[in-house]
Subunit: 406 residues, 2 copies
């Protein structure tokens, strides 16, 4: 008998028919003798309706009250799923995040889980129930309702799996798992059977978008092995776990492409100490997430200026321009160039640590496709390049072919 | 500085505009220096939508889960009202029933309040906040979410007023208060300024329908003085409180009319001990609420049979017939007559205790209108008669004229 934590997202519980389908799947596991804890999100659309209501009342609603409001979404789903399980004559009880013992800090709308005391979950499991827990929510030690922010339900599932020492944690979504690349761009992309946390992190933050990085980090920290799989079929998904020796046999686990970034170049920034700190400090204060940073060669020997290039999400360009303008008196760069027609292509794999020549092979592949590399950034298990957006998709296919097809 | 508990029902908070209007009213009290605790219901329509969802999943949903589901309705309102107060720059915090310390028994969907520990309410009031509490809900000592059933939000308000030793409890509704009769039937009906709990109870259970009897009983038990008033204007409402000497000066406080009852007569029931117990026991087991009961004279001297007449709500007639049929082998009455064309007219007033001749005056008034009295039932502060439905409204006007207009 195994203890399984399953998580179903908003689309999987989007209406009553789908909730019934989730109940059937849960029942299958329970009937074969497993103990099952189910974490659910709000039904898709419900959260948007609540946001619309709050928007009618206030343009800048209080965050404590937003949490009181939004947490009702998951509470509706847990009750309905419990009822659906009862219809299958399956004992089931629902618990809010607070009732399940999920204690968070007091940072409303993006609280962090501090600890979980799953006493009630254990009691109810031991009494033979399927236990259904509202994802995305918890309470502070003082009993205030909190929500966990984006990807919160995944986090609830993984944190519960850790606290309960579950044998298995399944994250149900609308894709079959993690792919070697986006199948819409690279038709030859294949589902990955096993992936290391580090690889998943790089893939997640690079636009694979299956899961938020924070949930993967949490899983890594608490050594929770989990499986990403589809709620639409019974195919096995992708197992995410700690790196093993055999994983290093694969040099590149995946190729990802992010076309949502823009490149910002500050031309001829005075080349003196503290300048970069000033610029990126100001961007960070404005909560702008800077991804790649490259400082180019100085403008000729002994020149007192340098070019500074970085990438940000396109949605943050307006804010970025404002911050740079506000610095003009201090920074005094000659001009600011913005380029939105770029693609960021990355290859990821723990095997890179032990295999040499990966970068060279990447550059060769791109060169043979006549793709110019504009920026390069590397980490232990990742190489990213910025290239023209127009070439990004064909380049992805070529790189995938070179590293992942044979 | 007074401590005021205000309760607003589903219509008063039916959309965001109305919630803003409630916020303005609450702010007026707060700004004049009072401490304010606000109890709210779910926005009108919200509970129906939740019921519809549960109905799609299950015809007979589990009651524990119904409470988890339905309690989200009030939770949405408390958050939105808090936001609306913030827009008026008024500090405000929301609390669910559980957070407000409302502890109930474990009878889901119709839980009874066992005690209230309003520690958090006090803390938040002392910090200068308007405190907004979700009506209709609480939790068991073991932390299970419960709801209080019909009229639950009124009950929350009155119980909180008792626990907080509030100076004032205002129940806001869509009528100006309690009237001497239904103004749609009796155009001369006037708003009552003060009414005793007992009178309110008789008027409430007799179709005045302003409040459920259980809330009035709770107020009576814990000596909570409350005011029923309109959320649509600033008119003073009706104060409901313990009987005072001066109240006895008014013989009749109100005239009420209930046209939703039907009369059932069992003709020639064997006149032997235990027969009535058998019949009304069976009706009670089927949860049928019997109102008036009259056993008529026996069929002639020494006859072994008697007629038994009682009234039930029309909506329970089908169930009633079934129960009576199931008893036919034992009870063996000659026939069962059902009459749905009746009206039950009642006069209510604590003054009846000290004034004689009230019944005589009622019967004279009805006689002068050529109204035949078919059944009579009396209590210390009430006289009810069953008359023809067709005459019920004109009779109400005549009785109102005789007792309440001069």
């Amino acid at each position: 008998m195994a203890l399984i934590v399953q998580k179903y997202g908003g689309t999987s519980v989007g209406n009553c028919e789908r909730i019934k389908r989730v109940a059937s799947r849960v029942a299958t596991y329970r009937l074969r003798g497993d103990q099952v804890v189910v974490v659910v999100s709000a039904m898709s659309g419900v959260t948007d309706n609540l946001l619309k209501l709050s928007n009618e009342i206030s343009q800048l609603p209080n965050e404590r009250e937003m949490d009181v409001l939004l947490s009702t979404g998951e509470q509706v789903t847990i009750a309905l799923l419990a009822m659906a399980l009862h219809e299958l004559e399956m004992p089931a009880v629902s618990l809010t995040g607070a009732q399940a013992g999920i204690v968070t800090d007091g940072v409303h709308t993006k609280a962090k889980i501090q600890n979980i005391t799953p006493k009630k979950v254990h009691e109810m499991l031991d009494a033979g129930n399927v236990v259904i827990v509202a994802g995305f929510q918890g309470q502070t030690a003082k009993g205030q309702i909190t929500t966990l922010g984006r990807g919160g339900s995944d986090l609830t599932a993984i944190a519960l799996a850790a606290a309960l020492k579950a044998d298995l944690c399944q994250i149900y979504t609308d894709v079959d798992g993690v792919y070697t690349s986006d199948p819409r761009v690279v038709p030859n992309a294949k589902k990955i059977n096993e992936v290391a946390y580090e690889e998943m992190l790089e893939l997640a933050s690079l636009g694979a978008k299956v899961m938020q990085a924070r949930s993967v980090e949490f899983a890594q920290k608490f050594k929770v092995v989990f499986e990403v799989r589809s709620s639409l079929n019974n195919n096995p998904g992708t197992i995410v776990k700690a790196e093993t020796k055999s994983m290093e046999d694969v040099v590149v686990r995946g190729v990802s492409l992010d076309k949502n970034q823009a490149k910002v170049t500050l031309v001829a920034v005075p080349d003196k100490p503290g300048m970069a700190a000033r610029i990126f400090g100001a961007l960070a204060s404005a909560s702008i997430n800077v991804d790649m940073i490259v400082q180019n060669a100085s403008h000729g020997a002994g020149a007192a200026a340098t070019d500074l290039t970085f990438t940000v999400d396109k949605s943050e360009l307006v804010k970025t321009r404002k911050v740079i303008e506000s610095l003009q008196k201090e920074v005094l760069c000659r001009e600011v160039l913005v380029d939105e027609s770029i693609g960021k292509l990355s290859i990821v794999g723990v095997g890179m640590r032990t295999h040499s020549g990966v970068a060279a092979k990447l550059f060769e592949t791109l060169a043979s496709e006549k793709v110019n590399v504009e920026m390069i950034s590397t980490s232990e298990i990742k190489i990213s390049v910025v290239i023209r957006a127009a070439q990004a998709e064909s380049a992805s296919r070529a790189v995938h072919r070179a590293f992942l097809e044979r």
